[in-house]
Each structure stands twice: as C-alpha cells, then as structure tokens.
Amino acid sequence: MTGSALDRADADGFRIAVVGSGPSGFYVSEALLRAGVPLSVDMFEQLPVPYGLVRFGVAPDHPKLKLVTAAFDRIATTPGFRFIGGVAVGRHVAIDELRESYDAVVLATGADISRSLGVPGEDLSGSHRAGDFVGWYNGHPDFRDCQFDLGCEAATVIGHGNVALDVARILAKTADELRRTDIAAHALEVLAESRICEIHVVGRGKPSQAKFTAKELRDFLELDECDASVLSRDVAPDDFTPDNPQDPELAEKLALLRGFSQQVSTKRRRCVFRFGLSPRAIRGRGRVETIAFAPPASPAIEDIDCGLVFRSVGRRSTPLAGVPYDEHRGVHANNEGRVADGSSVIAGLYVCGWSKRGPSGTIGTNRGCGMATAEAVLADLPALSGRRSSDPDALLARLRHRVARIVSYRDWVAIDAAEKRRGAPLGKPREKFVSVADMLAAADA
C-alpha cells in the first residue's frame, strides 16, 4: 500500500488536525467524532506506529494495560478519522502551515523531555535519563542504540514515581520473567547478562509522599529473584501510619512499605527503597562510582556506591516553534486547553493530555482531559469557520514530497500483524520493529 491508501476525508464539515497518537490524541479525536457535528480528524504522528506511551512507555510486563489499544483501534476506524504517520510536526510541517489548512489544530504531543537533577556529575558515563532506558527496552527507534552497561553490581534510580518503579522492576526481573513479554530483543539480551544485584530507589520525601501507586509497588512482592526492603534508619515509627485513614490507597502503600521494612532478604537481588534523601552530586573517575545524597536542608552526606544511575524526576513537553511555552509547568501555554500567550488565546490552536496539564494521572485521565479540550474546540468551531486558507488534502499532497512515505492506519495494521508473527515463535505477544526502515518495510510487505 502507498500513501494514496489514505481514504479521502469528508470534504464537507470542519477539518481538525490532532498532533500525536498517544492516549490523549485518541481520546480528543473520539470526543470530536462523537459530537454529532460534521467534522473529520487527521491524526499526525512522527513515527509510522501509533499509541505513543502505550507502546513506548507502559512496561512490557504490564500487558493488561496495553489492551487499551483495542479502544484506540475502535476510534481509528470511526468514519472521518485518518492516521497520518511518518510526518513530524515541527520538522516536516510547521504548526503555522497546519493552522492554515485546518479549522482547528489540537496538540497532544506528550511530555518527552526528562527533567534534569541540576547536580554536578549528571552527565558522567553511566548516568542516564530513566526515559531513555524506558524507550530502549520498549523498542523506540530513537533509543534503540542507547548503551546501558549492566556489568556493575549496584544501580540507583532517583525518583519515587511509577516510572522509577518500572525501571527498578525491569532491572530486578530475571530474563525468564521478561522473555514472554513484548520487550525489545536487544534489551532482553543485555538484561539477561546483567550483574546488578542491588537496586536503590531513592526519593527525597517520606513514604507517605511517594508518588508511585500501591499497585506498582505490589509488583515487588512477586519477583522471582529480588527482595524489596526499606532501611529502618530512613523512617520514623509513625511514617507507616496514614494521616488520612479514609485513604485506602495510601494505607495500602504504607502497609506494603512497612512489610518491606520487616522483610529479611534471601534472594539474589535486593531492591532498597530509600527515603528522605536528595542527590547532591554524582561522582566518579570518568564514570559513575558514587552518588552523594543528603537529607533536604542537611549537610550530612550519605554516599551510595553504584555504577549506574537513572534519573526519574519528572518530564516536560518539547516546545514547538510557533506555540507559546509555559516554562514553569513545562507544557504548551494554555488556558484550559486553549493555547494562549498570556491572556490572549491563539485562535484554532488547542492542547490536551500531558502537553496540556503535565505528566500525571493514568491512561484514563487523558480521556477526561481529551473530552474537555474537545468541548472547547466544539464551542469555538462556529467562530473558526472560514478561517483556514488552504485544504488539508493539498497539504498532504505537498507532504508526500517531503517524507519518504505517509503511513496510513491500514499500513499500521500490516506492521502490527508482522510484529505479532515475529513474536509468535518466541512466545512473545509481538517482536517490535525497532527501526523506522523496518516498520516501513513491513507496511510494504
């Protein structure tokens, strides 16, 4: 199939571009297409494959969460929806050019920049962004060539969110625990040779302040060769007593951590949850050897020796040319979904998901968020009528000269089927293609 396999969109009605194909992009599309207003949606995605962080963020050993893609596929087959893969907004087409061709443009670009710690030594060899590691084990083409040296005995994950737990758990699991997931083959190979036996998961807050969820923490009860522990010197006796007894989530989280603090380690690996420690410096001769931590506002330094560090202290959105940016929140500047420069709203430009409200919530949070942005778009559409000066199909014709190939949803279905065929003999749900060239070849096969 070629780019011409893109179905013709309904020429009547409003034309809306959605930038990004993660959860919020799909959910804003769903809300728009269900509104009963004559409109069609073109979803732009820089890669040939959709689903954003559901494909490249959700950990390979959490397959049930990935079943959400069935909902995305249902949205993608709604009349009026087109997937325009392989086109990078900001590189192949500027925001302003999109705005000339569409009545409304909705940015759903996510939060793909890992925040830095701001301490010396952050760039030493062996110090990595957690997001790079996640992209690597999930087979993201941009991260497949990353190198992680797992030949050392100790690794430290800085941060107490769910991404930190994902990283720690993937390091803690044996190759056999990962072999039948959709983990990228290159990652499985390296992890199988890992010599890591001690994983420190370090956060600056108390147990009650940790952002990870009880559900993610529970996974640490069921690891084949790794015990979880909490050091008694990090916690006061009442740190495991929830302030709010009406909060069962917090109560469960603290009960799990209390259990870890009482556990005797017997397995080959140990994952130690550390509290009340902020990183001050990463040190080593040429590569990471130790991290200096201190309690907040205290000079008492504690060194944790390790050869590998993953920084997992939040993410922010990549700024886009032509779109005002909120430096403080790390999102496209917006007023409840309408992109705005200060108090002045930019007509026809919207945002949803993590690039609207920052990286928080579960997959479903983006559904409510997408609906809210769709409501703003729908309220504004009558006033936006007649604003655009060009036609989306004329834009697509120009884009065909700028990219090797425009990938349709039917092309993705072919790539998807090929990945599943590759995975089947290995007992994996799929073996992902990890290069754009291989994805495109599968679409053509």
Partner: protein
Amino acid sequence: MTYVVTDNCRGCRYTECVTVCPVECFHVDEKMTYIDPENCIDCGGCVPVCPVAAIEPDYRLAADKKFWIDVNRKRAAETPVLTGRLPPLPGADARRQELGR
C-alpha cells in the same frame, strides 16, 4: 484482578468514573454503575475520581464487601454500557455528606 464498584455508589451514582475509563467498561442501572471485569484493564483511573470512594481493587475489599465482585460481574453482563456522564441521583450530595466525603 479487577476494580469493583461497591455500595457507596448506590444513591449517588455520580458517574465521574465513566469520563476517565479508557475502555468504557462501566455499565449502569437505575441505582449505580458496575465494572465489567472482562474489559477492565486495571488502570485504576476511576478510583481517585469517585467522589464517594465507591471503587476499590478486588483484592483490597473487606471480607463483607467481597460479594460486590460477583455483583459487578453479573450486573455488567445484564446492563448497558454507559458512554457519558449522567446527572447524579437526586439526594446524591446529601448522601455524600452523610458518608463523610
């Protein structure tokens, strides 16, 4: 595992859960909502948005609430999917206060 709607929903039925469910697994009757355990993907997004804390993961239910697991499974099979929010039941806010929420 799955998530389960329990008795706090009865008489309130706020349906905030429906707006955040990524897979539309909430069903509804005149009294409350139910989660279809076959479709729930365990994302947990509905738990914090429920104004009356009616939703829990199955393993966290107290012994005297475990029967809600079967009720959800059975009623989800018998009732329609709820695709959008409904107005809360009359008296929902009073009941919410009664529940101390």
